[in-house]
């Protein structure tokens, strides 16, 4: 086996480790198994398609192949990460007895499809978090473009929102809160998104952009990030069929509630990636 291949096999193993760590909570969530067979097939197909685009985008930012250069390499990374995500989901779901030979092929594929994207994200992020030799520090790189910053927030929002969206608690909380609670929660979400990224001094904290006032940063990054978080929340609720036959007020409340973990995800992603 030539050394390049051996190194790459190690990368794949590391990616599998990342996929397991990031995806096991979802793999052990029964609502996710149920969604695998009862959610709308076309929405699930769309979700997997968009999820793969997300993986491609993420691999341009982190990538897990040793050489992060060129778009074709990012594409290869994204598909290898997807393969790792599918295989990890397959292995663990069989091990948990969730997938069984007596089940129909539709059930197998649905259950795998809904898990494959978060597991694939884990496979890619493994590079950012666990790689033996860190890539040269983010400080050395040219500052990411505004679009790239927004994309990273989007990816983080998707990943974290996805971890809580399948549970019934989102609907339950929507029944518990008053509109005032929801408004307050929205304000808290924006504030947290801003503070986590700029103010609390976590490792990876973003430098305050030069020559920029508070409001410019707040509007361009924190508020834009919250907008993305809300859009992600709504998309995930729609994908899971939570918006079907549901009144507008209820849908908006659920969107704001899921927007809270989304915003946390958006903030965390800016720290990690």
């Amino acid at each position: 086996m030539n050394p390049a291949n051996r190194d790459y096999a190690l990368e794949l193993a590391r990616a599998a480790g990342g996929a397991i760590l990031f995806a096991f909570p979802l793999l052990m969530t029964m609502e996710m198994w149920w969604l695998g067979f009862h959610m709308d097939r076309l929405r699930l197909a769309l979700f997997v398609g968009l999820g793969i685009l997300l993986l491609v985008g993420l691999s341009t930012r982190v990538g897990f192949g040793a050489d992060t250069g060129g778009w074709h390499d990012d594409l290869l990374d994204a598909f290898s990460a997807y393969l790792v995500g599918v295989l990890v989901s397959l292995g663990l779901l069989v091990l948990f007895g969730v997938l069984h030979p007596s089940m129909s092929s539709g059930e197998w594929i649905g259950k795998l499809a809904v898990q494959s994207i978060p597991a694939g994200i884990g496979a890619i992020l493994a590079r950012a978090q666990f790689a033996e030799t860190p890539e040269e520090g983010q400080e050395d790189e040219p500052p990411a473009s505004y679009g790239a910053e927004l994309f990273v927030m989007l990816a983080g929002a998707v990943y974290v929102a996805f971890n809580v969206a399948p549970t019934d608690e989102i609907q339950l909380i929507a029944h518990l809160v008053t509109p005032w609670h929801a408004i307050l929660l929205a304000l808290v979400s924006v504030l947290l998104l801003h503070l986590l990224v700029y103010a609390l001094g976590f490792a990876g904290q973003e430098a305050w952009p030069k020559d920029t006032g508070f409001f410019a940063v707040f509007f361009r990054f924190s508020l834009a990030g919250y907008g993305l978080s809300l859009a992600v929340s709504f998309y995930i609720l729609w994908t899971f069929g939570r918006t079907d036959l549901t009144g507008l007020a209820e849908v908006l409340t659920m969107t704001v509630i899921l927007g809270f973990p989304s915003a946390l995800g958006a903030a965390t992603a800016r720290l990690i990636v």
Binding site: H38, R41, D77, F79, S80, Y82, G106, Q129, E136, E139
Partner: protein, 139 residues
Amino acid sequence: MSSEQPDRNEADHAKSRPPTPILEWVAAGLGAAVAIFIVGYLAWDGLTSADAPADLVIRVDGVEAAAAGFRVDLTVTNLGGETAAEARIAVTAGDGAQEAGEITFDYVPGHSSRRGSLLFQNRPDPAALAVRVLGYREP
């Protein structure tokens, strides 16, 4: 979260390998094939049969003696595409005893089967068992 990353310079990263390892092509190729298969299967399923209404049929697999009476084993199969949630099934022993029982299946996915059992005090005649789906809801 890792504490601090040591500063690396450009020279450290100079070991970039021009040729892509074959394994990378294999992994990515398989990944692309799996992705196309999953999306294709879901789309095909969605466009053809997935939204056919749930349609449950029940098969009595057998009547066995159990510690607490007699066990009637059932298999519920959903011939439709949509999932039936909380499917309730009633079974009545056809003879004069008129013993009856009811069982709920949380989910019976489309084109899939689920198994369950009911317990009777007296041995029911398998041929005379009356089995009926009471109802189910959308998930």
